[in-house]
Amino acid sequence: MRLPGGWVLSGEWRLRTSLVVLLVVATVVTFGVIAAGVLAWRVPAALAEDAARMRSEAVRLAHHLEQLLSGLEGRLGALAGLDAGLPPEQGRRLLDAVVAEGGFQAVYLLGRDGRVEHVALPPGWTNAQASLQGADLSRNPLFSAARHLDRRVWSDRYLSALTGESTVGLAIPFADHVLLGEVAPDFAQYAIGSGAEGRANPVLVVDRAGEYVAGRNLAESDRLRNWAADLRDLPDTADGGNGAVRQLGFAGVLHDTGIARSGKLDWTFMVAVPAGLANPQVRATVAIVFGGFLASMLLALVLAPLWASRMSSPLRAMIAETRALTTGKFGGTITRGPIREFNELATDMETMAQAIRERQSELRQSEGYLRQSLQTVRQLNLELEERVERRTADLAHANNELSAAMETLKMAQTELVRSEKLASLGSIVGGVAHELNTPIGNGVMAVSTLHDEVGSFRGEIAKGLRRAALDAFVDRVERGSEIALRNLKRANELIASFKQVAVDQTSVQRRRFRLGEVVDEILLTLQPTLRRTPYTVRARIPAGVEMDSYPGPLGQVLTNLLNNALTHGFEGRHHGLIEIVAEPLADDRVGLTVTDDGIGIPPALADRVFDPFVTSKLGRGGSGLGLHIVWSTVTAVLGGSISFTSEAGHGTTFRVIVPLVAPRQLPAG
């Protein structure tokens, strides 16, 4: 927050500043509150006091005047009383004496017709005396009033017959005369003067018509104006008694005015004191209060920074010394000051510094140890490296040896495989031979027997051929040839199978075909055989499976699997179902499953079932090569894979997965 004067009020203040502000604000607020309280109590009280004082002053003035007037009245009255019985000359002298006493500027003795019989004037007014003598004052309103009312009358504004100036007159009728006394014009001023000395307050006396009669401390304009409007509707207390208070303007300033009326002359007496802030007492009070306020604020502004400084300097010292700590200079003590909390903080700081120092030396020690350890470690590290190098060299060496050994091993393996192959080939050949041996042997035997029979027959013939002998011969020939045929067929089959095993891979035909068609072909060829059995073959081949592969081998695979199921799976069974299902697989492959619900593959054979010469019917017609051929064809020719699942007593499922596009054949190697 930006303040005028370039100050910025951020959230953070210097301690000194906030202390100063606190002190100043506290002082100002305190004094402000006190000042307000004092003023609120004192000012109205002072004003009320002054107003009451003014009122009593006015009343006193009125009384004073009335007393003076009473005095004058008394004198003139006494004179009137006396004059009745005195000789004229003496009466005149008395009149003169009265005037000489002061108070009256002229006393007239008027006859019944208003003529001046005698006028007593102050000394030195000889001309006037002469000219007034015998004057007709019948039209004088005071004379008329006295004559008419036949009692003492005071006038309030009376025009002096002597001077023409306005003054106060008193007329006292007695006998046939009227004593008319003109009061000296400065009488009123004198009355006020003697009654209200030593004050600077405006004092004003006005007559019944509101015209100025006398006054003190008045501005010209107040003297010259008419006050009747201001004095309208005065409460009755104004007359005699207690007076009244009103706010009137004197010299343009509102004054609390004490007002009293004199009954005798119907004059109004006003004594005023400035009202409100113009009142000197109020002013003084306000001035004192504000002076005190300013002084306190000044004092606060002067003292506060000093005090704040004193409070915050130990803190500053502490901050400096703490800062020294942060740069690593320990050892100094922090100066204490008058604030306990700061001293406690200083003690804690020193303790902390001590602790830090100790910690530092500990650290240095540790550092030393650490360095040592580091050295050691480096040393060890070096050694380790050397060792590692050595080991690596050894390992490399070993590796080399191992590689050599590996090579040797590989070679051995290849040899092994070759020899294995040779062995298997050998065993195959052996097996083939063994297999062929039986049927060919049998055939040879049968034919040789036949040969023998023929020989014997010849003999028979020679002796004379009997029908029985001929029949017997034919029988024997038939039997013999059946046996020979059967065995030769068997040998043919075997050779055909053997031929299949050694598949001539380069002469196999590759083309595009629909899988469904090939499967149907196979099933067709199988139909004659199937017709004779109680078993069923079902095929579910989706229509659009197009392959670019070797249909012959694929058909062979299928044939072999089916044959397996028929001959092995359904052995001893009177019913059976073979399902052939093809489903397209991802990556452009197709899965072909051949499932039978036969007796299953014995677990003992499961691992070796794709090996050559593995059969459950060895010697009983199975060559043991069927699945091997299948496996070989699927993997090598069709580029796929084969697997099976079998559960004894429940059936077997062979799963063949081959790509739709068979891989290009590599030359057999």
Binding site: A209, N226, G276
Partner: protein
């Protein structure tokens, strides 16, 4: 600190708090001394006029303020008073009430451009001049001529002793001269008797001087107080001698102080006390209520003068000066009738011939 200064300022402002500045009209007249009756009546008449005007809304809703100053029939006091009024920036001054004071006051008013509208100045020398002085009554010449004619023809007066007050020389000498010229032109004779007015003047001596010339009538160009005194003294010796006076003496004081001695005195009065003019009746009523006496010619004239000033101030447009307004924007309604000022700021209003009958001024028709 700033707060303290602000508070001090606030105090000062409170102490000196004053309302909006109203239009100010000054009044200058003798409010003390022997001719105080004139000044007082003038002030009272002006006061009534201002109060009436304010009650009717003032000028543009603002009240008019009457600032009163006393010249005490004293030149120094008069100069101080008029300077004071000028300093207060009054729009115009009603007054002065006597030609003697006009002598003193006019140059200052002229210099500072303030308009003087005098209810009662009638000395001839002030007429026909294109100056800041506006006059409500006719000059002494008209009055004196009227007087000379009246007395010569109606009363057969042939010799007049003229007692005149040198203290108000401008007026009295003007009046005397005008009367003498007129009376002599008719064939009469005037014996001047000069004197200086003072409380202890040798009235008897002056009267003796006047009567020594065996006049048919005595002319009193004096104040009411002096006229009363002279009347008393003359009557003591010559009960039947005709007495007449200028308008200056036509105040209630004359009757108060003169008693029976002034019965039958012929005077001049600005207005007809018996007039039924509504404005006059209203004025006499208000004046009587307020001040408990009759306004007299000075009161009525001052009322008329003030009314003219106020109406001119209300009627002027734009930057028109008050002086121009007074000259051009008449006629202005007075108590008894309308009045206008000519290009010299003079009026033509000849006081009626009046006689004292039973203690009252009665206009002779």
């Amino acid at each position: 600190m700033v707060r303290a200064a602000f508070l001090v300022l606030l105090l000062a402002a409170l102490a000196a708090c004053s309302p909006r500045e109203p239009l100010r009209i000054g009044f200058i007249g003798g409010l003390s001394g022997r001719v105080a009756d004139l000044g007082e009546a003038g002030r009272n008449g002006a006061q009534i006029a201002v109060e009436e005007f304010n009650q009717a809304g003032g000028i543009n809703g603002l009240p008019v303020e009457l600032v009163v100053r006393d010249d005490g029939q004293n030149p120094e006091k008069a100069i101080a008073a008029v300077n004071d009024l000028v300093a207060m920036r009054v729009a115009a001054i009603v007054g002065p009430m006597t030609s003697a004071m006009a002598d003193v006051v006019l140059p200052i008013a002229q210099r500072s451009g303030v308009v003087l509208v005098s209810p009662t100045v009638t000395a001839r020398k002030f007429f026909g001049l294109d100056d800041n002085l506006f006059l409500v009554m006719s000059s002494t010449r008209e009055e004196a001529a009227l007087s000379a004619d009246f007395h010569y023809r109606h009363n057969g007066t042939r010799r007049v002793a003229a007692i005149h007050d040198l203290r108000n020389r401008s007026y009295t000498e003007s009046w005397l001269e005008d009367f003498t010229v007129a009376f002599q032109a008719l064939g009469g004779d005037v014996v001047p008797v000069a004197y200086e007015s003072s409380p202890d003047a040798d009235v008897q001596g002056i009267v003796r001087r006047a009567l020594d010339s065996r006049p048919d009538a005595v002319l009193l160009i004096t104040s009411a107080v002096d006229a009363a005194r002279f009347a008393q003294n003359i009557r003591a010796q010559e009960p039947a001698l005709l007495l007449f006076a200028s308008q200056w003496a036509t105040t209630e004081r004359l009757i108060e102080l003169g008693g029976k001695a002034v019965e039958g005195m012929v005077l001049h009065n600005y207005f007809d006390q018996a007039s039924t003019a509504e404005g006059l009746q209203r004025l006499r009523r208000a004046y009587g209520e307020r001040f408990q006496r009759e306004p007299g010619f000075a009161g009525v004239a001052a009322y008329d003068a003030t009314r003219a000033v106020l109406e001119a101030a209300a009627r002027r447009t734009g930057n028109e000066s008050l002086r121009d307004a007074l000259q051009k924007r008449g006629p202005f309604a007075g108590a008894e009738g309308d009045m206008t000022f000519d290009s010299s700021g003079d009026s033509r209003r000849v006081p009626h011939i009046t006689v004292v009958q039973d203690g009252r001024f009665v206009v002779l028709h």
